[in-house]
């Protein structure tokens, strides 16, 4: 049982937190701009490299340098929106989806150009986990990731329900035409959507990079699971995306637990298929997601 917690549940929560933070942006962009942002994973990568670069110059704990990564991701997101997505805004959204495919490639090649394609670590060395009650082992980083994600989730909740900007975002996500009728500045809402989406993506990118290592494909490899999380949480429901991310993360890890026999339920080789199966099952039986998101 303790093995289950140490080796399946906690890693599941950790990777789930990464998915959750990434999925928030995907869900919000989907809600407000109405397109599946295929470059979101690569935005995470850019954010991660932003912090990695800062670490080279300022030798403190990487999490303290998070603002550098966030800033870089925000600038990148606003720039691609301005130059690549905005000109397509009036067309069917599918053009923007295709454009985001291209942006993903642009981000990745820029990351490879500037930071090279090798694996790079934030902090090297074995970090022995904290042991609680003799058997419960959790690494410091995982604790930080999970707690920070929870804090961010709570802050996001209050932002969306209490602040004017947050409510405006939900309004645009709900009924963009009515929001325009109500005189809301849609472009401003869109800009803030990128700011928030990019900040969380950068945070997720740093978490993922710290847990393992930075490489240009880091975010792209996580994209599918984040899409699944966004769909699971209900499109346009950022809090749902958080829950969806955690669920997908835990499901992925625990699906390989020895539930029925001594053999893993699902071979670890197929771990990355779990997210996808959840997504397909959901599309079939509950396309609005668990939390009543918008049905496309």
């Amino acid at each position: 049982m303790i093995d289950f917690i140490n080796l399946y549940l906690v890693p599941g929560l950790t990777i789930g937190s990464v998915y959750a933070l990434g999925a928030v942006g995907i869900s919000m962009i989907f809600g407000i701009l109405r397109f599946a942002h295929f470059a979101h994973g690569d935005l995470m990568t850019i954010g991660g490299y932003g912090v990695l670069t800062a670490v080279w110059f300022i030798p403190v704990h990487p999490l303290l340098l998070l603002p550098f990564g966030i800033a870089l991701a925000i600038v990148s997101a606003l720039a691609v929106d301005q130059f690549f997505y905005k000109p397509l805004r009036k067309l069917p959204t599918i053009y923007t989806v295709i454009a985001s495919f291209g942006v993903a490639l642009i981000f990745r090649s820029l990351a490879q150009l500037f930071w090279s394609s090798g694996n790079q670590v934030f902090i090297s060395g074995v970090r022995m986990p904290v042991v609680l009650f003799d058997t419960f082992r959790i690494s410091e980083l995982h604790m930080q990731v999970i707690i920070l994600t929870l804090i961010i989730a709570i802050a996001l909740h209050f932002f969306l329900t209490r602040s004017k900007l947050g409510r405006a975002m939900r309004a645009v996500s709900d009924e963009p035409e009515l929001a325009a009728v109500a005189g809301l500045d849609t472009e401003r809402v869109i800009r803030w959507t990128w700011v928030i989406g990019a900040s969380m993506a950068a945070t997720a990118g740093v978490f993922a990079g710290m847990d393992t290592s930075m490489h240009p494909n880091l975010g792209w490899n996580l994209l599918l699971a984040m899409f699944a999380a966004a769909v699971l949480g209900g499109i346009g429901k950022p809090m749902g995306a958080i829950a969806g991310g955690l669920i997908i993360g835990i499901a992925e890890e625990t699906a390989t637990f020895t539930w029925l026999s001594d053999e893993p339920l699902i071979s670890p080789s197929y771990k990355s298929a779990v997210a996808f199966f959840i997504m397909v099952a959901l599309l079939l039986f509950r396309p609005q997601g668990l939390f009543k998101g918008r049905l496309l």
């Binding site: 090279s116 394609s117 694996n119 082992r137 290592s213 240009p216 637990f257 670890p268």
Partner: protein, 400 residues
Amino acid sequence: MKKTTYALAVAALLASSAATLAADTKIGLLMDITGPIASFIPPLQNAANLAVSHVNDQGGLLDGQAVAVYGDTTGSSQGAVDAAGKLINIENVPIIMGALMSGTTIASAEAAAIPAGVVQISPTATSPAMTGIKDNDLLYRIVPSDNFQGEVLAKMVMDEGLTKVAVTFVNNDYGVGIGGTFVEAYKALGGEVVAEVKHEEKKNSYRSELATLSKAGGDALVVIAYAGDSGGKIVKQAIEGGLFTKFVGTDGLRDEALIADIGAEALATSFFSAPTSPADNPNQAKLHELYTAAYSEPADKPFVDQTYDATFLALLAIEQAGSADRAKMAEALRAIASAPGEKVGPGEWEKAKALIKDGKDIDYDGAGGSYDFDENGDVAGFIGKFVVDGTVYKQIAIVE
């Protein structure tokens, strides 16, 4: 106006190729620069460039300079065939070094190099399928096929007295190739594989894989994966989780980055296998010294040795052939790589050039082995057993 600028830029680019002096000779370097193994490439490009610069600093190639032309396979068969086609048809190279992955190597050989009669020499492709290809003596590699390292590793593990091990290997041609052979050979020797898990690259957590592996209680964990990727993570997470203390790795894991990351202490009981040369090999130390001097970074990374050697061999073959005639490359390559002949090592271009000029037979012994090709263009290879000694690896035994 804009169009004129573009036209000028294009013209300038084209002209730069014309600027290559007539006496210079091109060598094709086919690498999987982008795509799934992109993270391994930067040091390998350094290694190949180092070989070319050694040539140019020490008398040049034939009557001019050696010019490296890269082709990027993009890690895909389509890209490999296309890039090899360009090296052959547009750049007109006499010989190609590469590619690195088995999949891209075989595709480019089958659909581009072999039909055109161009010798291709891969530093790293380990797929057993390469042996059986009808290649008209054009396809070479300087690493033993997976079967060999897997078998040797099985013997090493048994000799160490480990009769029960857990095995995990990365799900690509490298991992599956060696892993599959290892498991088979180990069982044949009477060992018990208590758990066998294939894993995907580039995942964040391998803890659930490790949980499965550790449950069965093996004496050690055999990790066939790269230190810079899943292999390093698995070792790290196994130690952090207190699941394994003894690891057995292959050349992919035997990377100085692993010691830097994990620490020598935690790896004290572990050992590694890697292709090496028959005797205690000073050439490797020498190459590493040259590499570190040139790029101020450690050279003990996977496939750096082989990439340098393959590039150097290709260049030697051109020199030996006396011209950039494709038809002469295979014969020349066999001549300079195989015994007998005067020994030449990494960085000794001047010596080699002089010997060739005098009509003497040479035998290149590289940092990664001595490379005597059999009729299939394969090398027998020697596998060394390495342990961690301070911040570096020490070779403690050799198996042929």
